[in-house]
């Protein structure tokens, strides 16, 4: 398997608090890697470092053997890592379709003059963006809502829209921060299938944070477990289930 992302000895400190302590992690191309751990374990911090929201206090990050340290969020997106957010962040007053179209901004080339004069290349690009946005909405299953304002979508569909918008940037890696939050069991099953379909249809690599451990066990190829800012395990779901350190992290040492 090809190593896609390498996180080596990454630490992150906020003042005196150590949110991540010497975490190393490898993400292989085409896998679905889960990230679990109790609240405050540092899962979202790691996501934020990977996607350029935070800069690691120390350590190294690379994508395809190219260092990503110090890149800003939109530069990381340009390199091919897109993400969704734990607390949904959409352009609430724009249509569903337009949200996805804005998501493609990092891959477009039309400048100001082109936008104003609407020369041929700009029009061709605009049509291509629109077509791609429709395809992605179809892929995540909300194409019937394309003209709805994002704020009027149901919670589950807003999460799907975030995925479509992230996909619009043609990422190699899609990082999903609690994609199943607020979904009922039936929606969770559909989402699980969608994530697998994305991997198979688009050849994506997926990073997923989620609290629902059984759901993660059945979705992910491998799972990394964080606890108090440290990685305590990185293994297949079957081995994670029986790992004593993981069990004690979740249930306490008395278990």
């Amino acid at each position: 398997m090809t190593e896609l992302i390498k996180v080596t000895h990454v630490s992150k400190q906020f003042g005196g608090i150590c949110a991540l302590n010497d975490v190393s992690l490898t993400v292989y191309k085409g896998e679905i890697l889960g990230l679990i751990g109790p609240n405050g374990a540092g899962k979202t911090t790691l996501f934020n470092i990977l996607t350029g929201f935070y800069t690691a206090t120390s350590g190294e990050l690379s994508l395809n053997d190219v260092s990503m340290r110090g890149l800003l969020a939109h530069q990381v997106l340009q390199r091919g890592i897109a993400r969704t957010f734990q607390n949904i962040r959409l352009f609430a007053n724009m249509s569903v379709l337009e949200n996805v179209m804005v998501g493609r901004h990092s891959r477009t080339h039309t400048g100001v003059v082109g936008a104003v004069l609407r020369h041929r290349r700009a029009r061709v690009e605009e049509v291509a963006i629109r077509t791609r946005a429709h395809e992605l909405l179809h892929l995540v299953g909300i194409s019937r809502h394309s003209q709805t304002l994002a704020k009027n979508l149901s919670y589950g569909d807003q999460r799907r829209l975030e995925i479509a918008r992230a996909l619009a940037s043609d990422p190699q890696v899609l990082a999903l921060d609690e994609p199943a939050a607020g979904m009922n069991p039936a929606e969770r099953d559909t989402l699980k299938q969608l994530i697998r379909d994305l991997r198979d249809a688009l050849g994506l690599t997926l990073l997923v944070i989620e609290h629902d451990v059984p759901w993660m066990m059945s979705l992910c190829d491998r799972i990394a477990v964080l606890d108090f800012g440290e990685k305590i395990a990185e293994d297949t779901p079957a081995n994670i289930r029986t790992n004593p350190r993981v069990i004690s992290a979740y249930l306490g040492d008395g278990a």
Partner: protein, 309 residues
């Protein structure tokens, strides 16, 4: 009856100029939540630059049709104002991007005063007249007069408003502007360069203001270093009336304000039995502003501000 029609025509013409200027206020507010009080002065500069070019051409005895000369003036004024708008944002507002909101607001008033004084130094304190180079004919419509210049103003304003709407609704740049208006941070994550979008917003708004400035000076036949002050305040009232931050609102607010002002000026004498005359015309814009702020602060088409994403 024909007085009513006449005042409606006058009001729509005046209102379409207000609408053009109001668009500049509302575009900037939509993205930065800043009332750019210097915008009226940008409009004034548009008129002044155009008049300077026109009188230079006429003075040099250039043998061109009047309309072409006026057009040359306009085509110089537009890039000049775009540059001015860009410069104002770059020098005065960008350094204060993360300052408390009162700082850029006060700076805007300062920029406005500076620009007035620069204009006064360049062009003097006297009224500058717009030479009669545009067609001076008129047509009769339902018993009222509409002049060629009025038709020109209506058509030019309409074209600009449609073009701006298309730009904002149908192009990548427009989407980037709307996305930045809703959430600069999130738009930045999508690869939208907020500084670029903000610069372009000022540039586009200032270009439109240049046209408005030339149109209004052609309409009144005058330009003056102080003309941007009242025009700017009225356009600001129009933007508030329509719902500041809302493009359609600025257009509607501008037209409505023009009509209200014109009807008010036409009938105030009758209503007050001659006690107040049409020189009280300017009162109406601010009367409307006060009423809107009391009754519906979010404006006609605006949404309550907590609704902003």
């Amino acid at each position: 009856m024909d007085i009513l029609v006449q005042q409606l025509i006058n009001g729509l013409v005046l209102g379409s100029v207000y609408a053009l200027v109001a668009l500049g206020y509302t575009m900037v507010y939509g993205i930065l939540e800043l009332i750019n009080f210097a915008h009226g002065e940008v409009t004034m500069f548009g008129a002044m630059v155009a008049l300077a070019v026109i009188s230079a051409l006429l003075g040099a005895g250039v043998d061109l049709p009047g309309v072409v000369i006026a057009l040359l003036g306009l085509l110089t004024a537009i890039p000049a104002c775009m540059l001015l708008g860009y410069g104002i944002e770059r020098l005065a507002y960008r350094p204060l991007r993360h300052a408390p909101r009162l700082a850029p607001l006060i700076t805007a008033i300062g920029v406005s005063i500076v620009l007035q004084n620069i204009a006064m130094l360049i062009w003097g304190r006297q009224y500058i007249s717009f030479p009669p180079i545009l067609p001076q004919g008129y047509h009769t419509l339902l018993g009222a007069r509409i002049t060629d210049v009025q038709i020109l103003i209506l058509v030019a304003s309409l074209v600009l408003m449609v073009a701006l709407t298309l730009l904002v609704q149908r192009t990548q740049l427009g989407r980037a502007m709307r996305a930045t208006a809703q959430s600069p941070q999130l738009a930045g994550l999508m690869g939208v360069d907020a500084n670029r979008v903000i610069s372009l917003t000022f540039i586009i708004g200032s270009g439109i203001a240049a046209v408005a400035g030339v149109l209004v000076s052609a309409y009144y036949g005058l330009a003056h270093y102080y003309m941007g002050f009242l025009l700017g305040l009225k356009a600001f009232s129009a933007a508030v009336l329509g719902g500041v931050g809302n493009l359609a609102g600025a257009m509607l607010g501008g037209l409505l304000l023009g009509v209200i002002e014109s009807l008010g000026a036409g009938y105030i004498g009758d209503i007050t039995g001659g006690f107040l005359g049409s020189n009280y015309q300017d009162v109406f814009a601010f009367f409307v502003l006060i009423i809107v702020l009391i009754v519906r602060p979010s404006g006609l088409l605006g949404k309550p501000s907590h609704d902003r994403a």
